[in-house]
């Protein structure tokens, strides 16, 4: 279960966009879970995205929907049955430690809690991979650690987690696989690495 750290000052967002098929590569191939998606038809892109959960620095929650609705929304999109939604959403909310906040709106939550909701939304459809773009960027160090521990827990449950981050101390302490990219080229790939050599 590789746990990646993608470190790149410029272009990490581009890499995530490439994985999500939001942008097309000018050269080379994209292979996700053993499948070449370089020339994936635009019609198939939504189905590719369903195999990945995405978390952003700015949470991107819908402010007019409750925590429960925000998570259920992701299941509606994949046309899950109401029964399945009613069972799955509370389960994921308890996994991220927000069982008691189901009926609360995102604006009433702290940054850390909002990011937990975003994580719950990313997890609810059981993706094989979670992609997080600076997930702790807007959080204070303590909350950031909560989120990182949660991500670690998710990883231990069998989900690949790809994180793009600048947070040096987090990378150093997590001791996970680190891939460093500079100017579009992988310059380092350590099994148990820190932020820098």
């Amino acid at each position: 279960m590789p746990f990646w750290w993608v470190l790149q000052v410029h272009g990490k967002s581009t890499l995530i966009k490439l994985i999500l098929k939001e942008e097309e590569p000018t050269s080379g191939n994209i292979i996700i879970n053993g499948r070449d998606t370089t020339f994936l038809k635009p019609k198939r892109v939504p189905y590719l995205r369903r195999s990945m959960g995405v978390v952003f620095q700015d949470f991107r929650l819908l402010s007019d929907k409750t925590v429960y609705e925000n998570v259920a929304f992701a299941m509606n999109i994949v046309k899950a049955t109401p029964k399945h939604i009613r069972r799955q959403v509370p389960m994921v909310l308890s996994l991220v430690g927000l069982s008691g906040k189901a009926k609360v709106y995102p604006d009433e939550l702290s940054g850390g809690e909002q990011q937990r909701v975003a994580l719950a939304r990313a997890l609810v459809n059981n993706p094989s991979m979670i992609i997080a773009d600076e997930p702790t960027g807007n959080l204070d160090p303590e909350t950031a650690w909560d989120i990182m521990n949660l991500l670690n827990e998710i990883n231990l449950r069998g989900t690949t987690v790809v994180i793009a981050t600048h947070a040096k101390d987090i990378v150093d302490q997590m001791k996970k696989r680190v891939i460093e990219i500079e100017k579009g080229v992988i310059i380092r790939d350590d099994r148990k690495g820190g932020y820098s050599k």
Binding site: P46, R49, R60, L62, F73, A74, I77, K79
Partner: protein
């Protein structure tokens, strides 16, 4: 499609309609205006067409027989005229009737023809047509019959009426096409505002893996709902307004002298309802599809 997905689309569609009150109201306004203007042209056009048709039915040709036509020949011609394609009705005018008509025409000077008997007139048939465009065809067919001496045809009146009728149809159609384009433009811009306000939601949907169809559907349903509401409002306004104005006109003295009939709204309601529903749903679907295109490109 599963029940809960349809349910989701409908809930979202209705929610959009009521959540974006400003854009809903402006959409309703523009669509109602289009429909009302269409209703105005349509009802007036239908009435004019109706009058043209009435006048058309009155127009026709008078077919005169030879002076010495026998009873047999007279009834034979009646059968032959009825067989001609495009002939609506055939009315027999006897010598006496022709004499009396002439007498009436002279009025006070009826004495001038008192020396004559009805025998100086020829028997004739008044032939009316089902369709004015058949005029020449029918004329030729009658001309070929042996016992016919002369045909009097009001060709000029017939042609003018034909032209008026088709001009009205063309003008209505062109106006309709222009109005549809204008409302499509305005509706798609208005829905664009709604979509713009919800672009964040749309981009999240894209990241979670929603298909374009899934994202588009609630907006299309929103468009359809607005279209249907404006259709219903417009029918009420056009129906009420038309009945009121038709009554006012029918009661005026000048109108009663003209002796032209006014269609009741009931005669046109099916067509208007069909056009409004088609318009409302069509503009709703096309308008929201146009405005969605840009935002689906994530």
């Amino acid at each position: 499609m599963k029940y809960n997905v349809i349910n989701y689309f409908l809930t979202e569609g209705f929610r959009n309609v009521f959540k974006n009150k400003k854009s809903t109201v402006s959409c309703l306004g523009v669509m109602c205006a289009t429909m009302l203007i269409f209703g105005l042209f349509f009802t007036i056009g239908q009435n004019i067409n109706n009058w043209v048709e009435d006048l058309e039915a009155e127009q026709g040709m008078q077919v005169f027989m030879e002076f010495d036509a026998t009873e047999e020949e007279i009834s034979q011609l009646n059968d032959e005229l009825n067989k001609i394609e495009g002939v609506n009705s055939v009315i027999f005018v006897s010598k006496e009737e022709a004499y009396n008509t002439m007498k009436e025409r002279f009025g006070k000077n009826a004495k001038a023809i008192s020396g004559f008997t009805p025998d100086i007139f020829a028997v004739s048939y008044m032939v009316t047509l089902t369709d004015l465009s058949m005029n020449d065809q029918v004329y030729d067919a009658i001309n070929n019959l042996d016992t016919v001496r002369e045909i009097q045809n009001k060709r000029d009146t017939v042609e003018t009426l034909s032209k008026v009728g088709s001009t009205i149809k063309i003008v209505t159609f062109v106006m309709f096409a222009i109005l549809i384009l204008i409302s499509l433009f305005i509706i798609s811009n208005t829905i664009k505002l709604t979509v713009h306000a919800r672009r964040k939601e749309i981009s999240i949907m894209k990241y979670v893996g929603a298909t374009n169809g899934f994202i588009r559907t609630p907006f299309i349903i929103e468009g359809i709902i607005i279209g249907l509401i404006s259709g219903i409002l417009s029918i009420l306004v056009v129906g009420g307004g038309y009945n009121y104005i038709a009554n006012q006109i029918a009661q005026s003295e000048t109108w009663q002298k003209l002796s032209l009939g006014i269609l009741s709204f009931g005669d046109m309601i099916v067509q208007i309802v069909l056009v409004y529903m088609f318009l409302g749903v069509g503009i709703g679907i096309i308008g929201s599809s146009i405005s969605m295109r840009k935002y689906l490109d994530v």
